[in-house]
């Protein structure tokens, strides 16, 4: 329940900045059913505020957005292109830049696909079954959100470092986890762990188990039920989780910085390279890489909006 209300309140916060949004969309999925019949009334309620106050609130929101979101984005792109388009593309095709892009894509692919599998299984178990220790499992899933990324990285140093728990054994077998791709992947998986599960759990809890029960009573097997009933019901929520998971996986700095070893052209991801280039006074190159990450953020935002629409539509259809 706390999960659900958390998610719900964060959704409302996000949407509070878009004053024109239909109230139907602005209300969190869990409350929609209750709100819907009164939509017209509550719309009028909101507009009872006097015009100047409404204007002031909107202006404040816009000002806030401009200063904290739009301006930094503009600076990133302006700095990236400050020496022209050719300098921009030259910076991106440097071997170190290509290697960082490549590594970031690889890490994102690994961590997103593993977290996808894990997230679906965890959400499915939590929302469709009752078992002892369920609350504990939910808390565990949330853990990476409450742990500082640096600590998340250090945990793996303590486990897999040469002086660490498995260090001697790994060294003896010549297996490199830390300061190599596996370590970076592990740290990224750890920090992006909750995204898919958290996107799915409230959705699946809300959907309940009736449809699955119906499928099984009609003779479907467990797997058939999952692929034909559960999965289609959660697909938009799933994509939403994957999207956020991917954004964080590509953008993670702290945890990855601890386990990367910063080997040039080998274990630097894009966020790490941004910092390195900046510290080497290569501002154009640094902001060129940063602009790729910013574009990722913009794309994420657009896809997220589309997915949220779909999610709401799907919801309404299934409600009816």
């Amino acid at each position: 329940m706390s999960l659900q209300s958390n998610l719900a309140s964060s959704t409302t916060q996000l949407r509070a900045y878009a004053p024109k949004t239909d109230l139907n969309v602005a209300s969190p999925p869990s409350q929609r059913e209750r709100v819907r019949p009164h939509t017209a009334a509550s719309k009028r309620d909101l507009r009872t505020e006097p015009r100047p106050i409404r204007f002031l609130i909107v202006a404040l929101a816009l000002l806030f957005l401009t200063v904290f979101v739009v301006l930094p984005l503009v600076v990133v792109f302006a700095s990236a292109f400050s020496r022209g388009i050719s300098a921009y593309f030259a910076a991106l095709s440097e071997p170190e830049a290509l290697s960082a892009i490549q590594l970031t894509l690889l890490i994102a692919a690994i961590s997103v696909s593993l977290n996808l599998i894990f997230g679906v299984i965890a959400a499915w178990a939590i929302s469709k079954f009752d078992f002892a220790g369920k609350t504990f499992l939910i808390t565990l899933i949330d853990l990476p959100f409450s742990v500082s990324p640096v600590i998340s990285g250090l945990v793996f140093v303590l486990l897999f470092g040469a002086q660490g728990f498995f260090g001697t054994w790994l060294q003896a077998h010549n297996i490199h986890i830390l300061f190599a791709v596996p370590g970076i992947a592990l740290a990224t998986i750890f920090v992006t762990f909750p995204f898919v599960a958290r996107a799915l759990i409230p959705l699946m809890q809300e959907q309940g188990t009736q449809e699955e029960e119906a499928a099984i009573s009609l003779g479907a097997s467990g797997l058939q039920t999952f692929f034909r009933v559960t999965l289609p019901n959660i697909k938009w929520g799933l994509l939403y989780g994957v999207l956020l998971c991917n954004a964080r996986a590509m953008g993670e700095f702290g945890a990855v910085s601890v386990v990367s070893g910063h080997i040039r052209g080998q274990t630097n991801t894009m966020p790490l390279l941004v910092e390195i280039l900046y510290n080497e006074y290569q501002f154009v190159a640094s902001f060129a890489i940063a602009s790729l990450l910013a574009m990722l953020a913009l794309i994420t935002l657009v896809v997220k909006t589309i997915l949220e629409r779909r999610l709401d539509e799907g919801q309404i259809v299934s409600d009816d």
Partner: protein, 329 residues
């Protein structure tokens, strides 16, 4: 759509299939040597290929000297370490990765290039900073990194201490002087490059205590019309040492090429690369050639004033040491 993505994908695939060299070395180094090793690695690879016919590729990793040593201890597969101070190499050696006598294996304390600590001030030197005494004046903001994490910062600290000890002749007065100095420090960054960025780009502070090479680099990057280098009459001889990480190089079979790599520093070409990057060369001939590039500074060594790194580390930078006492007050 596919056509637009194709060139990018091709570029990414190409990057992964870069030609493998006969040998691959990993050099784990400290912060300000990034530009130095770009030059040096290129020159060494060419020289090595010419001499042996084998190709060698050198990968770099840079960061604060202390944390880099820690990474090697934790398993970063460094063939060579080129750190800011002997203590950090000792820390790796203490774990059995480097032979204990490493500092005797190469000439001149295994430090083929040296540097010193100078002051970088803003154009026109508005606060009139000429010597160490000027740093403790009220209203002078001094930028230096945290000696707990940064090798350069430890050299800064020891240079100030050494100056005060020589001037006032007592450890108590030196402690008072250094305490006053750190009263004037508004922010402690974790590494030398971080401090440079704070001073140069963010415009914080009146004077940056910096490696001489770092000060020259900042001046080259941002122009002499923005910053001036002030060399105090007395400073410390900073000796950043090199060592082959025996345990790792032996395992990877790269020991011979790693040793050749470090020895290349002692050739004419190596010394010239150091000098061109504003590190003071050891070779007297090259030093003479580049005499004009470096200010005449009377230099004392850490052995002279502090009795070596192990002792200095224990007395000044260990938990509860001088620095902790000074910085808490």
């Amino acid at each position: 759509m596919v056509r637009r993505i194709l060139p990018l994908v091709a570029g990414l695939l190409w990057a992964s299939s870069a030609l493998a060299a006969d040998y691959s070395l990993l050099n784990v180094s400290y912060d300000p040597t990034r530009e130095l090793y770009v030059d040096f690695n290129k020159a060494f690879a060419a020289a090595y290929q010419k001499e042996t016919g084998k190709t060698v590729e050198i990968k770099q990793s840079h960061g604060g000297s202390g944390s880099q040593a820690r990474a090697v201890i934790d398993g970063l597969q460094a063939d060579v370490v080129t750190l800011a101070l002997a203590y950090d190499v000792d820390a790796v050696a203490a774990k059995g990765l480097i032979a204990p006598d490493w500092q005797k294996r190469l000439p001149q304390n295994a430090a083929p290039y040296t540097s010193t600590i100078v002051f970088l001030v803003r154009k026109g030197n508005p606060k009139g900073i000429k010597d160490w005494d000027d740093l403790i004046k009220p209203g002078v903001a001094v930028i230096t990194p945290n000696p707990k994490t940064s090798g350069g910062a430890r050299w800064n600290y020891l240079a100030a201490w050494g100056y005060a000890q020589k001037k006032f002749g007592s450890a108590d007065k030196a402690k008072k002087f250094v305490a006053d100095l750190y009263q004037n420090v508004p922010v402690l960054d974790t590494g030398a490059r971080g401090s440079t960025v704070t001073f140069v780009e963010r415009g914080v502070g009146d004077v940056l205590l910096a490696w001489e090479n770092e000060a020259f680099l900042a001046q080259r990057e941002f122009g002499k019309d923005k910053f001036e280098i002030v060399s105090p009459p007395l400073s410390i001889l900073a000796e950043p040492p090199l060592a082959v990480v025996d345990a790792i190089a032996d395992k990877k079979g790269t020991k011979a090429v790693a040793e050749a790599y470090l020895k290349y520093w002692y050739t004419r070409e190596g010394q010239e690369i150091a000098a061109r990057n504003s590190y003071r060369p050891r070779d007297p001939e090259i030093a003479k050639e580049y005499e004009k590039s470096f200010a005449k500074v009377e230099l004392f060594t850490i052995d002279d004033v502090f009795g070596g790194w192990t002792k200095a580390q224990k007395e000044h930078f260990a938990e509860g040491g001088m620095f902790d006492q000074i910085y808490k007050n």
